[in-house]
């Protein structure tokens, strides 16, 4: 870290104090308390009993919790991998061809980012419902046999939730990739052309390496979003059918406030926090190393 400008100043502490006080009371202290609570069996009402690391062991041993983390992995495909593939393609097209209406397209694909997730969930519930627009579309193209209540289906509920994530994240990733690609100097493309590279080789030889930093940022944001999915699951499926769409964040809420297993909920929350830190650290490490 480079040295910030300015001389040593004690008055800095006074400027930091108000922000730090709120931050410590409502974020640092609670995370400490979460670690403490995670070591107890507590129903939220009576006296808790010491449980040691049992709540953490349960994350591996308990099939339902293992499933919840497994579902988060599936969501990562839909929230991170798929939007990255689509976003790279769309951005490459937009950057390559001077299409008209670029501004409009960017406004439209980015729009899902600013709409409240509760509203998004209400909209997609309607799309997926048995008399909803997805089934209407399938019948219109002669695939009416596939129609079903998507969110109530054991096989399709999780992918259906995942597609909402794809819908939600693709715009963000596309705009991020566009920003990265617009910084690539034209000479690089001209050089590739002179070497006789086609569009595909040009993409892998010039475009992809140049946006490595943006890819790391996109993956960090979308992987974290996948791990933190809560509002969407709460509104659309409530973790069901069965527990086929339960995810860690939903389990935190479900256990703490519906099942009265506060210790277990805290342990899941702490684990989730650690997983998020490790993943974003790893992605950024990987990006740094491949740049140098």
């Amino acid at each position: 870290m480079t040295r910030p400008p300015g001389e040593p100043r004690r008055v800095a502490y006074l400027f930091l104090l108000p922000a730090f006080a709120v931050y410590a009371a409502f974020l640092l202290y609670p995370i400490g308390r979460a670690v403490q609570l995670s070591l107890y069996d507590w129903d939220g009402l009576t006296l808790g009993t010491w449980a040691g690391l049992d709540n953490y062991a349960a994350i591996i041993a308990d099939g339902e919790l293992r499933d919840a983390f497994g579902h988060a992995l599936v969501l990562m495909f839909f929230y991170a991998a798929l939007p990255l593939a689509i976003g790279l393609m769309l951005a490459a097209i937009l950057n390559h061809a001077k299409v008209r209406g670029l501004g409009f397209f960017r406004t439209v694909v980015f729009l899902p980012q600013v709409v409240a997730m509760v509203v998004v969930a209400v909209a997609w519930r309607q799309v997926y419902s048995s008399d909803g627009s997805l089934n209407a579309l399938l019948e219109a193209v002669g695939l009416g046999g596939l129609a079903r209540g998507w969110l109530g289906d054991y096989t399709f509920a999780l992918p259906a939730v995942g597609v909402v994530g794809t819908w939600f994240e693709t715009g963000l990733v596309t705009v991020l990739m566009l920003a990265g690609m617009s910084k690539i100097p034209l000479e690089l493309y001209e050089a590739a052309r002179l070497d006789g590279a086609g569009a595909v080789r040009e993409f892998f030889a010039v475009t992809l390496p140049s946006v490595r930093g943006e890819i790391a940022v996109a993956l960090t944001l979308t992987v974290i979003a996948a791990l933190r999915t809560f509002d969407l699951v709460y509104i659309t499926t409530g973790g069901g059918p069965g527990n086929s769409t339960s995810v860690p964040s939903y389990e935190v809420y479900h256990r703490a406030f519906e099942l009265g297993q506060v210790g277990s909920a805290a342990a899941i929350g702490v684990t989730l926090t650690l997983v998020i830190f490790v993943i974003s650290f790893a992605i950024n490490r990987f990006a740094d190393r491949s740049v140098s």
Binding site: P8, V22, Y253
Partner: protein, 259 residues
């Protein structure tokens, strides 16, 4: 040069994705329009959206004003001054940017309950101030570090106090960065769901997204009404987005780019 066929193909792909992005939103708009003005009036009165919006407005205004002011001050300290423990303190703030609110919401609920503070305005607003201050400190520090050091030095030679240097010399040219921060904090607070869900039990304190979630539980069959409620919840942020989208896009993209 690009061939005509390639150009048409490109437009086709882009159109498909534009339609995909707009489709669910249009579903809502169409249903809400189908319910007509009566649908909105019913959502507003029967659905109690007027009280939900009032709460959301109060919470958002409080979180924006307090967290942006505190962030400007802490970002100023980190960005222009040198002091012992600077790096450790800054990394502590960075933790909060990635911290999932799920992890802190559980202990916060039980501790605030002990203090008798759950189901109050403060239990909804203050945790969100803490979450926003983490990002805001990071954001304003980056801005102040890049702003000219010469200005700070000149102000000091002119005899301006540290306090005046911040508010009268540094803040006015920082307006674009501050506007971006205000918009982001407003959007996050307005759209937040988990914290009000956990903290609030009385109907008078429900925020707009929380109200919509409960409304949805009651009126599952009447989609026109539900759609009207959804439009009411989403509109304030979407309007800001349509007029100031540069700020939203820049903020959401740059905010993630760490040094």
């Amino acid at each position: 040069m690009i061939s005509r066929a390639e150009r048409l193909g490109n437009y086709a792909i882009l159109s498909v994705f534009a339609v995909f992005a707009l489709f669910p939103i249009l579903t809502i708009l169409q249903a809400a329009a189908g319910g007509g003005v009566e649908g909105f009036a019913q959502a507003w009165e029967t659905g109690h959206f007027h009280t939900y919006l009032r709460t959301s407005l109060g919470v958002s205004a409080f979180v924006v004003v307090v967290s942006v002011t505190l962030s400007i001050m802490s970002g100023y300290a980190f960005g222009t001054m040198r002091f012992r423990g600077q790096n450790i303190l800054f990394y502590l703030f960075l933790l909060g940017i990635m911290m999932p609110s799920e992890a802190i919401a559980v202990p916060l609920y039980f501790d605030l309950r002990t203090l008798g503070l759950t189901d109050t305005f403060w239990s909804v607003a203050l945790p969100q101030v803490a979450l926003s201050v983490a990002f805001g400190t990071f954001w304003m520090r980056a801005y102040f570090r890049s702003s000219s050091r010469a200005i700070v030095e000149a102000a000091r030679i002119d005899g301006a106090s540290v306090w005046r240097t911040l508010w009268q010399v540094l803040v006015p040219p920082a307006r674009p960065a501050i506007v971006t921060l205000i918009l982001l904090v407003f959007m996050w607070t307005w759209n937040e769901f988990l914290i009000p869900l956990i903290m609030v039990t009385s109907e008078g304190l429900r925020t707009a997204p929380l109200g919509l979630a409960f409304f949805q539980g009651q009126y599952t069959s009447d989609f026109a009404l539900l759609a009207a409620g959804s439009v009411i919840v989403a509109t304030p942020v979407v309007i800001f987005y349509l007029f100031l989208q540069r700020h939203f896009i820049r903020g959401l993209l740059q905010g993630a780019v760490r040094e």
